[in-house]
Symmetry: C2
Subunit: 276 residues, 2 copies
Amino acid sequence: MTTVKVTGATRLYAIIGDPIAQVRSPEVFTDRFAAAGIGAVLIPAHVPVDRFDTVVPGLMQLGNLDGLLVTIPFKARMVSFASRLGPAAKCIGAVNALRREADGSWTGDMFDGAGFVRAMERKGALIHGRRVLLFGAGGAGSAIAYELAKAGVAAIAIADPDVGRADALTQTLRDAFPSCDVAGSSNPMGADMIVNASPVGMRMGDELPGDIGPLRADTLVGDVIVSDSPTPLIQHALRTGCTHVTGRDMHSGQVEALIGFFAPASAPLTTTQRVS
Amino acid sequence: MTTVKVTGATRLYAIIGDPIAQVRSPEVFTDRFAAAGIGAVLIPAHVPVDRFDTVVPGLMQLGNLDGLLVTIPFKARMVSFASRLGPAAKCIGAVNALRREADGSWTGDMFDGAGFVRAMERKGALIHGRRVLLFGAGGAGSAIAYELAKAGVAAIAIADPDVGRADALTQTLRDAFPSCDVAGSSNPMGADMIVNASPVGMRMGDELPGDIGPLRADTLVGDVIVSDSPTPLIQHALRTGCTHVTGRDMHSGQVEALIGFFAPASAPLTTTQRVS
């Protein structure tokens, strides 16, 4: 059980979202902070969408709040609260983490894509050269597309009911990764990696997010949705025997990176600094 | 050790103040919430004085924040954030607790005075008929004066370097408690109860808050200052053998009342409702 002693001197981190009760970050990060000797707790902060403009500036000015995680639906909206952005956040225009610097300014970055790629790598998947069909060009989809392109996939086709959003992401990726073949289309084009970053699959009775073509055993499958039972896409992957990652895997995949982002001085457990 | 499992569904209470690291409420109340089966944590919220107007409205609009404790220097300033006030808060114009009602409105009240009286009673002191010399007419002093008058003291003399503040409290008490002899004066007038609600005694090297006259063994002594070593006034009480309460006693004295205020349905551990 994740427990923490909260005192007057405890430092705060918060995850903001609407809804919030389903998030697992408070348990995961409070535990990790304790393990790293950081006297901090990560609290759930329910920011109702219509009160965002009042709540977020207030939270960020708390004297003992050192960082924020950001979940649906605020990942794009929070960009304007950062004084500076990391490369992934700058390219795709969304953040899922912000930390307060010593001078009081805020640095934001986006770790969803890195978490997805890390989770795939942990399962032994080879990403380089893949032809990706991606459903969803929102915050998570953009972040994953960015990191997949950075990891050297050969092509990405992007499907989103909001065609303008798909086109904008297509152009962003083409500019950033000229050697990747990026198309704003839902054509499976012989994809050997299928990623769902749309909300389809979140509700009972949802079908696949779109035409995924035939799955082969060596197709890589990913679905950002966090759920207790497999989504329709993950069910297909299980039946076909595909290597796959879930939303939970994606979140687990970014925990190390986020701890390092939040507490650069305390977190380098895997670097040579800890050897001495 | 006070520990709590913080999840996405955990409800929040916060204590606001500047500074905040020294407060003990997070430990005390988180423990009590757990004992009462309430899935909530009380977090320290450092509200720098110059950011009050941004931080407090933001905090109060968090969807999962159910209540606030208020400490120095915000007890008077928070009155305007309450939709309605309890009797002590209404009379003295200060709150140290606010709770969110089902309709989203906020109810505020002041428990410092009740905590002080309760702490005295726990030590077996008889308050009715006492002649009180009170130093400090701020939030804590006002709250204590109100509850002492309500408990039937015969007289209260109020000393404060801010004469206007002392006079205002004098008038308030005269209006509310016509049978109590209230004087805005530092004349000991044969006091048999001495209360320090001023900041004097908080710093190393501080002397007594003023002329306390001769202490007798049956004089009651109280000091609102929370400190690890006895304040000068408490040292006098110890030497003379007076029944006395400290700031810590005052805070302990109001915990039950605050739990009942925050969670009326869950807290009546001492009422007959729990017998069935």
